[in-house]
């Protein structure tokens, strides 16, 4: 590192200058101070580790920064909350230069600005490789946060947008033939989905207002995240595989990448779409509002049942849903 700790903090402060009006004390003091609203405060944290969540030789710093904040904002979206503030802590290995760190914060700043939130503080430390740890705050009307635990038997299961493109982008980045496909429409879309996912903040608030009984974001895979929602709610779900909104670009990539698009849509992680349970009667209006306000599709993919997690094939065959997905500690 060619700057001292205090010099690097100074450079980062410049990238992040111009905090929101509710920031009483911003970066550079022992702690930040923000005016507290009249609602409930929502708190979430997510960590990105070099070699696990990103590869510095493959992903531009700006994308890594943007994505790491997006992952955090997505947790707020899954509660139906409005993002407010973020704290960013970084461990940096010896080989990291200041320009990389400035770009990283530039990407975070882009996402923060999109959501009208402020990065108000954090910490810098030496480490092995890069670890990015973010904590975010958001706000909801008191009592209105949507948890994972309220799903009721008979509710419909819905999902925003489309699934599998981020996992397709990861597969593409690891494919020996990646260079050959670069520039094709589907390759660009998969790469963007992998490097620059979008948190469904407005959608989350809309679904919450429409009466969502439970909600979670798809970070580790639709199957495993839906199973977490079901466990928290003490229910099961029947998922109709034929109704999964498989990303079109992923379907287009099947032959080139040798992947099964429907399989990746079910098990692939990092799409940051929202899965929610809603009363059947609320789906149409919620779907229309999502389409009109955000251009985002809402798909009904199943129904909440008692206990079991069941997948229904296109031909009507039922089998237990093998959730798959990502376990950080799996061998």
């Amino acid at each position: 590192m060619e700057l001292s700790e205090d010099e690097l903090i100074g450079a980062v402060r410049k990238v992040l200058s111009g905090a929101g009006a509710d920031v009483v004390v911003g970066i550079g003091d022992d702690a930040a101070v923000v005016a507290s609203g009249s609602g409930d405060t929502v708190l979430a944290a997510d960590m990105s580790v070099e070699g696990v969540h990103f590869d510095r030789s493959l992903a531009p710093a700006r994308d890594v920064g943007a994505k790491t904040l997006t992952v955090n904002v997505s947790d707020l979206a899954a509660m139906g909350a409005s993002p407010r503030h973020a704290l960013v802590s970084l461990a940096l290995g010896d080989g990291v230069d200041a320009a990389w760190v400035i770009e990283l914060f530039g990407g975070m700043r882009e996402v923060a600005d999109e959501h009208a939130m402020s990065i108000v503080g954090g910490d810098l430390s030496r480490g092995d490789g890069v670890v990015i740890s973010i904590a975010v705050t958001g706000e909801v009307v008191p009592g209105r946060a949507v948890t994972r635990s309220g799903a009721r038997v008979g509710d419909a299961v819905v999902v925003t947008g489309s699934l599998g493109a981020a996992a397709g982008g990861l597969a593409l980045s690891r494919s020996p033939a990646a260079a050959e496909h670069a520039g094709t429409g589907w390759a660009k879309e998969l790469e963007r989905a992998h490097l620059r996912p979008v948190a469904r903040v407005g959608e989350g608030q809309t679904i919450a207002a429409a009466g969502a009984t439970a909600m979670i974001d798809v970070s580790d895979g639709l199957g495993i995240d839906l199973s977490r929602l079901c466990v928290a709610s003490g229910v099961g779900a029947r998922v109709e595989l034929g109704t999964l909104p498989v990303a079109e670009a992923l379907v287009d990539s099947e032959d080139a990448l040798g992947i099964d698009a429907r399989e990746l849509a079910l098990r692939g992680g990092e799409d940051y779409e929202l899965v929610a349970t809603l009363p059947e009667a609320a789906i149409d209006a919620a779907g229309a509002e999502l389409r009109e306000r955000f251009g985002t599709r809402l798909s009904r993919i199943g129904v909440v049942i008692e206990e079991k997690l069941v997948a229904v094939d296109a031909d009507g065959t039922e089998r237990p849903l093998d959730v798959g997905g990502w376990d950080h500690f799996a061998g």
Copy 2:
């Protein structure tokens, strides 16, 4: 790791069960929800990296957990805030077992309980070695947070407690003769100061109420942290070295450890005492209240002047204060 991610989260939830009454949604959802008060919210984050901040072979997991949360709480104390909530994110290398993680959270739980705060969420990830990243929230009366930037020429510079014992404990742990001194009174005190520092929360609130114009905690060393306060305030300070409250155990260890106690008191980090600037007239009452309520000493160590940072030796010689201290990125 012998547990899956979800199993480990389940085990950690048990350690952290029994959250405060203001926790609307605790651990296990996408985010935590806490009822927001009527004050200003204070946000801080601090990261602990294995091999940089702690050594897993030397420090018990319970102490590492307790200290990492204490470091965060100390940032709240330095604003005069009341601790409220914490988010804990962990990156864990392959060699870490679940029992170590449970103990780590046990230590955090101890500190959280001491300060009536709740650990409400966070994140777990695979990594190289262990990285512990904590974010905390606290509350202050609106407009009353004490920043680093309000010191005025003529204010007295005060410090709580005593200095240098934590650095002495670190020196002891690295000393080839450590085993030989184990069990002596000073060795026990230095070790405790190094492994289990205490955040001066009540003291910070008392000093804030007494009219502190600026405050910072001693994390990297009295010299460098005081210089940060001075830079933020656009002032200097004259420090009378003879008045530094050098830890008694450190003085007792001088011969055995071959250290200069006064030097370590000035430059050693991790004491987590508070340095504040106060109007001269406010010192006596603040000192009396600290002594009565917390049994903590308040020492006047200097005065705020224009621009320069100056040290006055016991014989009255003035020289520029060489701040020393810890830069994470120094070669």
